[in-house]
């Protein structure tokens, strides 16, 4: 279980996050926010890539706030697949095992689930966008992290491919039973993947009951900006 409390972050004079809190249990939670709302920064703070000005982060009861990313036991899937281009897909997916994270059994299972068997010996540049995203997800899952953080991993992909991939991702994540925090600006994408929702607006996180409610709140937030 992940519990982030009162996370505040300022970049120079701009407050990006203000007392942002979120709790993720055994579920896929979507954090929905418009561009510039601070959602990616929030995710990076949880991952340990960006340091917060204040706040606490607990993962499975342990305080991870002051740990470097390599010691946090979490998976991170960024906006772009960010595959290591000099390594094959097999080496990419197995990368965590170099540092003692994950097992061959987990690798074989995840490769099977994400249908990556035929592309394991290829280099990232030889793959389509969809396969790159699958490989990026597999690489984050093989170490069997305590939580998976996904930062709009299908951003920039066409809608048809996105709608095809999201159910695949959902079934894999559900089968592995890994808690997920999925950041997106698209409530529809959230609806296809998530069990629960929260929105982030002006650096503050608010829990909502449904993707429709999230959509309504985000729409009024956008309209407010143009008033």
């Amino acid at each position: 279980m992940l519990k982030a409390e009162k996370i505040t972050k300022k970049f120079k004079r701009q407050t990006v996050l203000l007392d942002a809190c979120i709790e993720v249990n055994s579920e896929i939670k979507a954090l929905i926010g418009i561009n510039g709302s601070g959602k990616s920064t929030f995710l990076k703070i949880i991952a340990g890539i960006v340091n917060p000005d204040q706040g606490s982060i607990m993962l499975n009861g342990a305080d991870i706030c002051h740990l470097p990313p390599e010691k946090r036991n979490l998976g991170y899937v960024p906006q772009h697949p960010a595959l290591f281009r000099h390594l094959s897909i097999r080496e990419n997916v197995l990368y965590g095992m170099r540092n003692g994270k994950g097992t061959i059994e987990a690798f074989e299972r995840i490769v099977e689930m994400l249908d990556l068997k035929d592309v394991l010996d290829k280099k990232p540049r030889e793959l389509s966008g969809g396969y790159k995203s699958r490989a990026s997800l597999a690489r984050a899952l093989v170490p069997e992290p305590g939580i998976l953080l996904m930062d709009e991993p299908l951003n920039g992909m066409d809608i048809v491919l996105r709608e095809k991939l999201l159910p695949v991702f959902r079934s894999v994540l559900k089968e592995l039973n890994i808690p997920v925090l999925y950041v997106t600006h698209d409530p529809k994408e959230a609806e296809l993947l998530a069990d629960s929702y929260a929105i982030i607006d002006n650096g503050t996180v608010i829990s909502v009951n449904s993707s429709e409610q999230a959509f309504g709140m985000i729409r009024s937030s956008i309209l407010k900006k143009f008033e």
Partner: protein, 257 residues
Amino acid sequence: MSKDLVRIFFLPLFFLLIVFPVLALVFNLDMQGVKATMTDPFFWDSVKNTMITALFAALLAVIVAVGFGYYHLFRRDSLVYKIANLFNDFPIALPHTVAGLALLMAFGRKTCGFLGETGAAFTLAAVVIAMFFVSYSLAARALVSGVDQMEQEVVDVARTLGDTPGQVYFRIVLPVMGEALFSGFVLGFSRSLSEFAAVIMFGGNLPGSTQVLASYVFTKVEVGDLSMAVTASVFCVLLSLLIVFILSFRRMFYAES
């Protein structure tokens, strides 16, 4: 109008001040000078010394630049990085005679006298150090421009997969820095080839011992043997053109792949 201005200023000045001096060297070649230079053992010693010392200086520059690249990527807020970054531009702004004198003060008889009568000065090692001093910043800049093109997300993902910053740098960043490392090496090598002032101050100009091509040309001009100086200079021009060609070819290769 602006296009005309470019034509009026750029083309004449470029040809007059860059191309014409190089052509002037070539047109002043004479067979006697060529023959005398090609049979001069000190000329070939200077060629050998130049190639060996420039090679070691460039390698050293790349190795130190790799260290700087790490600080650039992971420790940009550190004092070490800030000082190193400041000193990156230092050898460019500093007169190279001053650089040579600084090296002489640091590694010459006064401080490193235990190494020999002259300390480390006036040896091939001193030539390498002098060349490194002036070429390192070019290698560092080449590597840093490569590191800056690296997607930050790739580094972030590697960290979450258990890599420490050092592991990310050596396992993920450097293996894809081939072009930047090669550019840094070639730029460092070419800058080392052309260095004169720092080399002559710290390494000396002993024919057959620490004399390099640049100081060979200087010596020949000084003793009035202009035709041999011209021949050695044209040799330098050809060497430089070869380096520029290698660099362009390599860039083309990377752009295509």
